[in-house]
Symmetry: C2
Subunit: 333 residues, 2 copies
């Protein structure tokens, strides 16, 4: 297994057809069928990743594959949907090495197994640009159960799964920035790097979100940006106190020594955690269900009438973040 | 309305949200809902187009938009599916001009109106590469009615809608190649150019395909390549006689004066016509229904036991086309 892939058919039939669900017809058709359980709606997410924008061209092929699917599954989970299938369109700057294709396929298999879905179709092209992977993922929710981003109300409490900011620190580690190597152990750095390279959206939270969330979205463009979206959808504001945010011990070490990196944690992207709101009477039931299901869920604030999202540092000073998060057009963070 | 788009939100809310169907939640959510009629299956096509590969970066924005949707709708039609919705992920090398965004949006509106579907979601990114538009389109077929590519049998007759090769000649016209300008009138050139820039998949053929086709696919990579796919799916071969193929009068002029361009017609891409097979007893009913519905359908051959697709020129000589059509990896035609 050496050399480059010689044609599209080889790439598709050797490396991708083994990943296909029945509705994918062995990837031998131009279209796919989605198999919907009766009484369910289909939820769709489309979120491409591009080398040099969302990942490094020399990241491991298996990690690139995993991330391409994970970022879409994360969107589905936030809607209360169970992932069922995905299509994948690949654009290659040059024909890939067979070893690369095998590693990529292995990474896709690991991801689709972890997330409970399978490939049903796609497309491959050559491009004069960088490698890009455009996945459209499909999930199902019981009819009428789609959790919107914009359906929260003032007074709802706000929760987030997992920890925030580790992937942004993982990106610093990937760039070999000194703050990470100076302050953390090799094992901590590895952990952060993994958060950046292999985001693990919290599939286990689907039943909880379905049952309790008044609104939800995934944290992909930074907590502040995505909290702003949640709050705006409710015509509300939100005050986040840094000491109540779910930071990992590695993240806490970083901000203890370099407080300016609080901004990295709350405005950096790629968390792929779920941010959701719920009515105040659901606080205890949420805590109980999270405990029962072994899910980390942290309450981080209450939607208020302020109309804006603020972050307070441990000393109570508000953090200066104008727009917050990443905008692909402005490129600001 | 001058200058460039300043951020993603402006692009999405000003230019794309007006195109959204109810399941798109005004493009204010990360996911969309597909509204499926009871008793139907969802059919999915994903076919991105990339500047410099599938279109010219300086093509009119409205034409680029139209083509991006048309190439996907064409796939759906071949499956017997009615288009219902689509998602669109855009990657821009630089923030687009507002005038470009408006023209693009106008082109999308014209296309989605023509094809009977609407936008439900998407994504925008900046890319270090060329402009790319990744549409995933959704259609519905009555449950169990999906027409596969691989379900034909030897003895089935083969049909194609519309005319073949005009888009390939339109590409020559777009490149201002002399053969086109020397042999054709300005109005003929315009017609061919339009076929290349604004493919018009034959939505009217959906009922006919649903009722009679044993197998079908759209002709996107050249008639020979796509006929080979249809024949291979049946373990069959097919002999195409050039004099029975549906060539436009402009195309006939070209091959009369420059016979080597027969190859351009049958191996060039971008026809976006539907190629389908049907049992022999359906020949007359197909002709009757096509006439009733005002659809151009031409019978072009019979699936035989030869195992390969050949094209015979008017003099009976077989055309030398090794693989036929376009392979994005080999780049051969």
């Amino acid at each position: 297994m050496t050399g480059r892939i010689s044609d599209e058919t080889e790439l598709i039939q050797v490396y991708f057809a083994p990943l296909a669900a029945p509705g994918g017809f062995g990837l031998k058709d131009d279209c796919a069928l989605i198999d919907v359980a009766p009484g369910h709606d289909i939820v769709v997410s489309t979120d491409p990743i591009i080398a040099g924008v969302h990942f490094f061209a020399d990241d491991a092929a298996a990690d690139i594959a995993w991330k391409a699917l994970a970022v879409n599954v994360s969107d589905l989970i936030a809607k209360g949907a169970d992932p069922i299938a995905y299509t994948m369109a690949l654009a290659f700057p040059e024909a890939p090495l067979k070893t690369w294709a095998q590693d990529f396929s292995d990474g896709m298999r690991a991801a689709q197994t972890a997330f409970g879905c399978a490939l049903i179709g796609g497309d491959t092209d050559r491009t004069p640009g960088p490698l890009s992977i455009s996945i459209t993922a499909f999930g199902q929710v019981p009819r009428g159960g789609f959790i919107q981003r914009n359906a929260a109300t003032v007074g709802d409490h706000v929760f987030v799964t997992g920890s925030i900011g580790d992937a942004a620190l993982g990106l610093l580690a990937r760039r070999e920035e000194s703050v990470v190597s100076a302050l953390l152990t090799a094992s901590e750095r590895q952990g952060l790097l993994r958060r950046y390279l292999r985001p693990a959206p919290c599939l286990e939270a689907v039943p909880l979100i379905r049952r309790f969330a008044s609104a939800a979205l995934d944290v992909s463009d930074g907590l502040v940006q995505d909290a702003t979206r949640l709050a705006r959808g409710a015509g509300a504001g939100l005050c986040l106190r840094s000491e109540t945010l779910p930071f990992s011990s590695a993240a806490r070490k970083i901000i203890a020594a370099a407080p300016q990196h609080l901004k990295t944690l709350v405005a950096g992207g790629d968390d792929y955690e779920i941010l959701f709101s719920a009515a105040p009477e659901n606080r205890l039931p949420i805590r109980a269900m999270a405990e029962r299901d072994g899910i980390a869920v942290t309450e981080i604030g209450v939607l208020d009438g302020s109309g804006c999202v603020t972050v307070l540092a441990a000393n109570g000073a508000p953090l200066a973040i104008h727009s917050g998060g990443y905008d692909h057009f402005r490129g600001t963070q």
